[in-house]
Assembly symmetry: C2
């Protein structure tokens, strides 16, 4: 470990923040988008491509990895970094969110969650302590507390009790995590779309003096303006000296606007999942490569992005590959999308450094709205 | 075009031949294995990986490409080479074999074949002349005559009439192809597993003085010894001054043994198809990465192959990716297999050059038979 975990705020431009998260495995320039490597691979990409695109950190999913290959096995294999061949920082979620969304027969109690694996039906128990233990066995640099996340809309009592349980679990996770040089455990702000609950959750977590703060339970079905309104409630409560991570978000526009509301870190499967289905995010908005207009278009997908997938393959070829359901089509569009997300974040970081984030955001949104280049 | 099509025989070692096929788009060192890029992509690989593995030439499938994106469209797009980004030679089949195996409602007459597309049900007619026209529109460097290929076992009359029809189509294809500097049209020896029919087919094609000779209708269900016996019938009839291509073959052992019987060129989907299903061909024989013995094996798949996929990822990770049905697992094993096939062909070429092919073949087969490294 070369350095302890920490956060340096370089500049603020409105609510937007330009910073660096320091970890024992290297720095993360923020605002940052973290590509998702669910089961230990960013789907369809070589990790060299992920790194070259500009990603400082990737994410692994505790739920998937605890089921396969398994936490103790991963530890015996030397940890996730060695297993997948990534020497930069890795963030893991707690497993809780995917227990809720993917497993069968889940049961939540004060003690933790019980669930059946979607892989083989095996029964698992996961307490807050076990979640932290698993994340430790994986070798995660930035770990998440176990929390309970509810889908929106939800009634007040459901949101309140989930938020309160999450706070009690945050305390237990903090104790379980202890002090690990170079690493961090983040608390997760819950409270659904309720201002009071969000305030209460954020304040209680701040009082625990954690190393970073995640904002969970958003982008779970609510309109974007509700998400941004919740950020306006939560971010002013969070300390400026700690990183803020909006979990599971989102579209390029979600990222741009959330940065404007004070968020530092993001993750989402959208660039790779959309890429596998032929949808590209570009400097000129969304482009659906399945569309027949691309069939004889020899121009590259997006010359504005410095990535081989973006500027060295014709739209006609990408169209053909996607229509033919070929792996290479999914590989190229996933690669382009990851590169575009990193391109966007680099632009955001530069703009904040130069105190012209508002103008950058306006121009970026205008370019998206203007749409794709005219058909040939 | 820098040079005309031709073949230089550098050395013979028994029946095994070390040569170079010259084309307008570059040389092909033989014996050569040609990775299959069915619809314009070697499945799961970047073409840089294919080239770096040592492939001089790849194959495209006329049937697939005429259906999607279509021959005239491909021509408008500048041809297959430009479309996919491969500047070396490309060989195309005639489309006939896959009309038989993939399309519905096929009908064969003296004139040609009529069939319904497996993509959209559209009706197509393909004469020998149209097959050559399509291959020209694709921009193929080594084109195949349209032929009729029968599955084995088959009765004598079926094999005979298919062989005779194929000969008449060879004449028509030769005329349609004409003289194209730097390019070639190969005739295809048919005749099933019948010695007399094979002799008759080979001799008639030799009399047409074509630029190269394919051997079709093998590896279609018959035992390997039948295939090798047919090679022993056909190869001595074929001129030593022309390349010989055994279509759709095969396993590494098929290749090694067929070289010993006088074959120069091969193609097969096996390395990529097997790779997608977790099966690796290695210097120590077949390795099934799905097998639980690899789950905690941190050793690389095959240190004997100079390829990142072979020597820089653990078996445990490959096992995990394949078990998890992840694209990266398919990508890595397809890549390794293509690299292993090229590694094998390079070894074969060196051995023939050094007049020790028999010893090389014996040692290679012995290593395969000895099997994989012991489990940890």
């Amino acid at each position: 470990m070369t350095q302890d975990f920490g956060f340096t705020l370089h500049n603020s431009d409105g609510m937007a923040r330009r910073g660096t998260v320091h970890t024992g495995r290297g720095d993360i320039q923020t605002p940052a988008f973290m590509p998702v490597g669910t089961v230990g691979t960013v789907k369809g990409l070589y990790l060299d491509q992920v790194k070259d695109a500009g990603a400082d950190i990737i994410l692994g999913n505790t739920y998937h990895l605890m089921l396969r290959p398994g936490a103790e096995r991963m530890d015996r294999l030397g940890g996730l970094h060695k297993f997948i061949g990534w020497d930069g920082p890795i963030l893991t979620d707690s497993g809780g969110f995917q227990v809720m969304s993917l497993s069968a027969l889940r049961k939540i109690s004060e003690e933790g969650v019980t669930f059946k694996s979607h892989v083989d039906g095996k029964l698992f128990e996961m307490s807050p302590e076990r979640s932290i233990e698993i994340q430790g066995l994986l070798g995660s640099d930035i770990q998440m507390q176990l929390d309970e996340c509810v889908a929106l809309p939800a009634d007040h009592d459901t949101m309140k009790s989930a938020m309160e349980l999450s706070l009690r679990w945050a305390e237990r996770c903090k104790t379980a995590f202890g002090n690990q040089p170079g690493k961090a455990m983040f608390g997760i702000v819950q409270g659904g779309d309720n201002v009071g609950l969000r305030e209460q959750s954020a304040q209680a977590l701040v009082d625990m003096d954690l190393k970073g703060y995640s904002i969970g339970g958003l982008a779970v079905g609510e309109p974007q303006e509700v998400m941004l309104a919740m950020l306006d409630v939560v971010c002013p409560i969070l300390p400026t000296t700690k990183p803020r991570y909006l979990m599971g978000v989102g579209t390029p526009q979600d990222l741009l606007r959330s940065v404007a509301h004070g968020v530092d870190m993001f993750d989402c499967v959208m660039p790779t999942r959309s890429g596998r289905h032929g949808l590209a995010f570009t400097t000129r908005g969304r482009v659906n490569l399945k569309n027949a207009r691309h069939a004889e278009d020899t121009r590259p997908l997006d010359e504005g992005v410095n990535c081989t997938a973006s500027n060295s393959y014709s739209r006609a070829y990408l169209h053909h590959l996607i229509r033919s359901n070929e792996m290479l089509g999914m590989m190229l569009l996933s690669w382009h999308n990851i590169a575009y997300y990193q391109h966007l974040m680099a632009g955001i970081r530069d703009a904040i450094s130069n105190n012209n984030f508002a103008q950058f955001a306006e121009e970026t949104e205008a370019r998206w709205a203007a749409g794709d280049i005219d058909a040939l």
